[in-house]
């Protein structure tokens, strides 16, 4: 389980790095997405969410189909605001929070699988790994980070800090945030 503090920090950081968008938009690959980077695999996934019309009333399945199919005619990888004129519905704040919490729980299970003993890691190390898995995904984190994963298996948090840097377009600030977390973990466990 994540503590309330960990969950709050994660939500704040994910919103900063991934954005928080109340309407459907297309991500870099052209997939329909909403909220804090929540990918909607298909129309049925979108129709399960509690979208609302501009007047606050609940959107119908046809309303949601309208927004979803409207986006599919547009190019991907634009700023989220580019898509705003092409959709009519929004997702209420509490629904975005619910999705993000579910997303965090899903990645938590992935991290527990990749790193046995994950729940016993120092809090800063856990926050660092959450940031990494949100960004690079479970399969990339598991298979394409041999130096980082070797350091983590050895509970060498200073080593993990050294090998945590991501390639552009990940910003220097985001890389430094994760590095600082691993370095903090190293001091916590000394």
């Amino acid at each position: 389980m994540l503590s309330a503090h960990e969950n709050a920090v994660l939500m704040r950081k994910l919103e900063r790095y991934e954005g928080r968008v109340p309407h459907m938009y297309l991500d870099a690959r052209g997939y329909v997405t909403v909220g804090v980077g929540h990918l909607l695999a298909d129309l049925a996934a979108a129709q399960k969410l509690a979208f609302a019309r501009a007047n606050g009333s609940a959107a119908s399945a046809d309303d949601i189909r309208g927004d979803f199919e409207s986006l599919l005619t547009l190019p991907g990888n634009r700023l989220a605001a580019y898509y705003r004129p092409h959709v009519r519905l929004t997702l209420p704040e509490q629904e975005i929070d619910r999705l993000t919490t579910a997303h965090i729980s899903s990645f938590h299970r992935e991290l527990q699988t990749i790193y046995p003993g994950f729940d016993g890691f120092p809090t800063p190390a856990r926050l660092a790994l959450f940031d990494l898995i949100f960004n690079v995904g479970a399969s990339n984190l598991r298979t394409a980070w041999p130096s980082l994963n070797a350091a983590i298996r050895a509970r060498d948090w200073a080593g993990a800090a050294t090998h945590s840097r991501r390639a552009p377009p990940v910003s220097a600030q985001r890389n430094q945030y994760v590095r600082n977390l691993f370095e903090e973990a190293a001091t916590v466990t000394q």
Partner: protein, 256 residues
């Protein structure tokens, strides 16, 4: 003047020398001349679609025009070293003037959207100075599933900086990622899948970009991971110096 100069790994002759067909060195004979090797853009050249007013298909908009045209949105960009110096940018010409300061979006969730624009600005600047090639070892070489055999190892998708393939590595992409599988998307783009991500390679343009008279390739790699938000857009300027030999990287964006 018969001048042959060595620039990085590649011998370069002045156009005068090429015109006289005197050859650049005994070890690097020029390829046979090919007439009509005009600059051409491919589906990987997406800047027109990133503009506020995309040029009409039948317009004669030059690459110089595109550099001064407004993007579909204004981006607030800040230099990596002096983030307090953020300013709005809306054209490639304004961005390229300050690109050496490693500008990045203030809104970090805009990073991938901006990286595509930045790559296309770099591509457009190269296209603006491109000229028809007098010689080509590229010929009819296809953008197909066999690309990893011919492209440098730097093409490999490496999100972890500690795993990056260094510039100048002599290996081929297929040597460092033997498990990738290609699937052609269009006549000039291919999707490659491997265990930790997906890459889409597309032709941006082919022309003589560096003034040596030999045809070069400009390719875009769109890098994605499975179930993660990471996405990158890398631009490779490549050349081929002998028939059938692997491509060599002349320039890479973003510079490492």
């Amino acid at each position: 003047m018969n001048a042959c100069i060595s620039l990085s790994a590649r011998p370069v002759c002045t156009l005068t020398v090429i015109a006289l067909l005197t050859g650049c060195s005994a070890n690097t004979p020029l390829p046979p001349p090919r007439s009509g090797v005009e600059p051409a853009v491919g589906t990987g050249f997406t800047l027109p679609a990133l503009l506020a007013v995309p040029p009409q298909a039948d317009s004669a908009a030059s690459a110089h025009d595109l550099l001064d045209a407004a993007w579909y949105a204004t981006f607030e960009l800040a230099p990596q070293r002096t983030p307090e110096a953020a300013a709005p940018y809306a054209t490639c010409s304004a961005y390229l003037e300050r690109a050496h300061e490693q500008l990045a979006p203030v809104d970090e969730s805009a990073a991938a959207a901006f990286m595509e624009i930045a790559a296309m600005c770099e591509a457009t600047a190269l296209i603006a100075q491109a000229r028809p090639a007098a010689h080509s070892w590229i010929g009819d070489a296809a953008i197909d599933e066999a690309l990893p055999v011919h492209l440098p190892a730097e093409f490999a998708l490496r999100v972890a900086e500690s795993g990056r393939i260094p510039a100048g590595d002599e290996r081929r992409w297929a040597e460092v990622e033997p498990d990738i599988k290609g699937h052609r998307l269009t006549v000039d783009s291919v999707r490659f899948s491997h265990p930790h991500g997906i890459q889409e390679i597309a032709l941006v343009a082919r022309a003589d970009f560096d003034g040596d008279g030999i045809e070069d390739l400009l390719l875009l790699s769109r890098d994605y991971v499975d179930a993660g938000s990471y996405a990158a857009f890398r631009l490779f300027l490549l050349t081929r110096l002998e028939n059938g030999e692997p491509y060599r990287t002349i320039r890479l964006f973003p510079r490492s």
